[in-house]
Each structure stands twice: as structure tokens, then as C-alpha cells.
């Protein structure tokens, strides 16, 4: 059993959720309310990682984050290490790959709030920021949380992009999914089977736990 890989996968999933959720709230709300003509294009860009093969996403991320790229050179200048084939690089890739899983449910939830309620909040003298915090976000929370669950579970299972951008270095970028692949290649089917079962249980537990923690009362109370 590769505990190091399990810990790495859980850490990657948690950091991805923490980084992505604030982004998902603001992007989701903006997409739900903006009259901008650029909206379909932004929506399409966000969904892109879902429809492209992981190899294509991985290829472009490798090019965009590689040692000769602008991002890669900047990162190396700042932190004195490369961005690709590092845990930090995996986080960046994971955040981008999970954009559709986090943003789409949030956007649907903010669309569900409706313009009437937003107008009512404004007429009560609430600033847009206060309206978001006290009216819209509590109502949209189920959608936002669904996005967080999907992101967490999807990060645990992500394989192709992680392999291309991470390179499967033990303790650094070899996640549980990659470790299973590695064990299969080593013809160590017992270990692969154990880890596959563990990933199944952890994924199920993560999703079930989140559902249990969020409960059924979501959205029934608005405001303080």
C-alpha cells in the first residue's frame, strides 16, 4: 500500500478545492448575472477541459508551464525550482482541469437565485458585496458545495493530465491513481487491487461525508 501516494492525492484534492472554490463563486456569479456578450466564450473556455482529451490539456499545460515558457521562467525566478513535474505544478494543472466541475454547479445555483431577489436586496440598501454574502451565497450554497464535492472526487481520480504534467515522481507527483498504474505495470496486481479498493472507499466516503455534513437544511434559511 502506497500511503505516501494516498496522502499526496488527498492533499492535492484539498488544496485544489480551497484554491478553486472562491474562484468558482465569483466566476459562477458573474456568469449567472452578466449581460456581457463575452459570456458564451468564457463559458466555453471553462468547459473546455471537460471535452478535450487529457493528453491535449496535458500537452498545452506542459507547453505553458515548461521551463522555457513565460510562466515557467517566472516561477523559477521566484522559487528557484521548476513548475512542471512539481507538486505546485500539479496544483495549477488540477485547478484548471477542475474549472468546469466547480464553476458550472455554482453558476446554475446563482442563476436559480433570480433577478427579483437581487433587486430586492439592492432596494433594502444592501451593497452588492453584502447581498452576495447574506442573500445570494446562502441560497447558492448547495450548488457551490456540489462543485466542491465534484472537484475533490475528480482530483482523486485524475490520471492523464497528472501523468503528463507531473511525471509520477514518488512523494512529489505520484498520486494514488498513478501509483495504481505503476503497480499494474510492475505486475503487482495485489497492491494495485488494494489501492484501487482504497480509492473506491475513500472517494465514496468523501462524497458521503460531505453530503452528511451539508445535510438537508441547506437553502431553507436566508440571512442571519
Amino acid at each position: 500500500m502506497d500511503w505516501e501516494a494516498l496522502e499526496l492525492s488527498l492533499r492535492l484534492a484539498a488544496i485544489t478545492v480551497l484554491v478553486l472554490m472562491p474562484l468558482a463563486v465569483f466566476l459562477g456569479r458573474w456568469l449567472a448575472t452578466t449581460p456581457s456578450r463575452a459570456r458564451p466564450l468564457v463559458e466555453a473556455l471553462i468547459v473546455l477541459p471537460l471535452v478535450l482529451p487529457p493528453t491535449v490539456v496535458g500537452f498545452y499545460l506542459l507547453a505553458a508551464m515548461g521551463p522555457d515558457s513565460l510562466a515557467g521562467r517566472g516561477w523559477t525566478a521566484l522559487f528557484d525550482q521548476g513548475l512542471v513535474f512539481s507538486f505546485q505544478g500539479l496544483v495549477v494543472a488540477s485547478v484548471i482541469v477542475n474549472l468546469p466541475f466547480a464553476v458550472q454547479p455554482a453558476q446554475r445555483a446563482f442563476e436559480g437565485v433570480g433577478p427579483d431577489l437581487r433587486a430586492a436586496a439592492a432596494s433594502c440598501g444592501m451593497s452588492p458585496w453584502a447581498a452576495l454574502r447574506r442573500v445570494e451565497l446562502p441560497l447558492a450554497l448547495p450548488g457551490v458545495l456540489t462543485g466542491a464535492i465534484l472537484t475533490f472526487a475528480h482530483t482523486l481520480g485524475e490520471f492523464g493530465v497528472v501523468l503528463m504534467v507531473g511525471g509520477a515522481i514518488p512523494g512529489e507527483t505520484r498520486t494514488l491513481a498513478l501509483s495504481i498504474y505503476d503497480r499494474v505495470q510492475a505486475l503487482d496486481h495485489d497492491a494495485a487491487g488494494r489501492m484501487a479498493a482504497l480509492l473506491l472507499v475513500v472517494s465514496l466516503a468523501a462524497v458521503a461525508l460531505t453530503y452528511a455534513l451539508t445535510g438537508r437544511r441547506i437553502g431553507t434559511r436566508v440571512g442571519p
Binding site: 492533499r11 484539498a14 521548476g82 512542471v84 450554497l141 511525471g167 515522481i169 512523494g171 505486475l187 455534513l213
Partner: protein, 257 residues
């Protein structure tokens, strides 16, 4: 709201940085064919020196691409010396263009057949010739010749026996030599051309025959220290060239360079 705080706390706990054990153990990239030998070597090295290494296996060509893209490996063990020479030419080795690493072993190619396969294995590939002619060998696994040295050597051996054209429509390509063997052992292919080192892995059942070394370019295994190599990586490099390392390699089917 307490529930969400709890959830957030859980996430923060998971996201907490791991204890910094990773820095002390260097990452090493190695050809997939070296897996069983190097796994054993790493354990023996730790016993005798108390130092650990982290091994990543893949097709030599794919690992070179990772190194060129800045992967933080400190030592690279290739199944084909050409990859090391190319890295050196680009100045991507520890000692710059003059540092072309060291040959540390020579690998051998075998024709492998899983237990219930109709393929008869022999050094002259006569059984393969019959199997391809009468159609009983439907799938033959080799490693991708473009990125895996054992794949390139397998192609040469088939060409030498004048079997390449007959075999080509029946070939399945593994991304590296481990995956190629896995295709053959799982019954997905009736046999394959793989490395001697891997068919000696405990638990691999099947028959195999050694391909004479003069039927293909030599599988000279070459390793080179990469920029940023630390003490542990250097000592592992030297240890592999020493008697203890060479003993393990020869037990796994490698000959001395």
C-alpha cells in the same frame, strides 16, 4: 454554519504541507526494463548506506522528454545509450557536454510466451515464423520503438529474421517494456519481445527464449548524473558500478558492459 466550518477545517488539515522527507531522498528516473533490478538495488543500497532514493520508471525516451522539460531528477538510467549521449550534447548532464555518463550493464531481449499461448519460443524465432504463417499467433507485443529502446531492438530482431512485414499487422505496442510484458502476461497478446530482466520478475509465468545478442544493436544501459545531483544520487551511481550493484544486475539478467 458550524458544519461548513468543520468541512473547511477538514480541508485545511488535509492541505497542510507534508513533513519534508522528500528533499533528502533524490528522485531518480530509470528505464522500465530496470524496474525489478533497481527496486532490489535500492533496498540493498539503503541497507548498506542508510540512504534512500525515489525511483520513477518509464520508457527511456519519455523520461528524456521529462528531463528536457525540467523534471527534477538527479540521476537518469537509460536502456539506450543514445538518449544519454543526446542529453549530454545539449549540456543537460551534470558535467556538461563532456559528461556522457557511464555504461553500467548490457540488457538482453527475449521472446516470451504466456502459459497457454500457441506460440513456441526459440532463439531463431522459427516458432514465431510458423505461428505468424498459420495464424495461431494473432497478437505479438513489443514496446513502442519510437520511445522504448527494447521496442527499437525488437524491431531490429524481427527485421533480421525477415519477419517484420509478417509481424507488423499483428503487433501491439506497449508504452514501455513493463506494459509490453503486461500485455503478454495478461493474455492480451500471444507473446512478446521483452527484456530478460523483466521475465525474471517473481510471479511472471511463461516460457522464454533468449534472442542472440548479434541480431540487434546492443542494449547498452547507460546512466548519467544530472545537474543538481546531490550526495545520495552520486553515491547510488557509484554503488551500482561497484561489486554489490553489479551482482544484483547480473542476477537480473544483465551482463557487464
Amino acid at each position: 454554519m458550524r458544519r461548513y466550518c468543520l468541512l473547511l477545517l477538514l480541508l485545511l488539515a488535509l492541505a497542510a504541507p507534508a513533513p519534508a522527507t522528500a528533499d533528502a531522498t533524490p528522485a531518480i528516473a530509470a528505464a522500465a526494463s530496470l524496474r525489478t533490478a533497481l527496486d532490489e538495488a535500492a533496498i540493498a543500497f539503503r541497507r548498506s548506506t542508510g540512504r534512500s532514493v525515489r525511483l520513477t520508471y518509464g520508457a527511456s525516451g519519455s523520461l528524456v522528454q521529462q528531463i528536457r522539460n525540467g523534471a527534477p531528477y538527479q540521476l537518469f538510467l537509460s536502456a539506450d545509450e543514445a538518449h544519454v549521449v543526446a542529453l549530454a550534447a545539449d549540456g543537460r548532464t551534470l558535467g556538461g557536454p563532456a559528461d556522457r555518463g557511464r555504461n553500467f550493464a548490457v540488457g538482453r531481449l527475449v521472446l516470451f510466451a504466456p502459459p497457454r499461448s500457441p506460440l513456441q519460443v526459440d532463439s531463431e524465432l522459427q516458432g514465431l515464423r510458423r505461428g505468424l504463417a498459420d495464424g495461431s499467433v494473432r497478437r505479438l507485443a513489443i514496446a513502442n520503438p519510437d520511445v522504448a529502446p527494447y521496442g527499437a531492438r525488437a524491431r531490429e530482431a524481427l527485421q533480421h529474421a525477415d519477419l517484420w512485414d509478417a509481424a507488423k499487422p499483428r503487433l501491439v505496442y506497449g508504452e514501455n517494456i513493463s506494459q509490453t510484458l503486461q500485455f503478454a502476461t495478461s493474455g492480451g497478446a500471444d507473446g512478446g519481445l521483452v527484456s530478460l530482466s523483466l521475465v525474471r520478475t517473481p510471479g511472471v509465468a511463461g516460457r522464454y527464449a533468449l534472442i542472440p545478442a548479434d541480431r540487434h544493436a546492443p542494449l547498452t544501459q547507460r546512466m548519467v548524473l544530472l545537474p543538481g545531483a546531490g550526495t545520495t544520487a552520486r553515491r547510488f551511481h557509484d554503488w551500482l558500478l561497484g561489486p554489490a550493484g553489479q551482482r544484483i544486475l547480473s542476477r537480473h539478467g544483465y551482463t557487464r558492459p
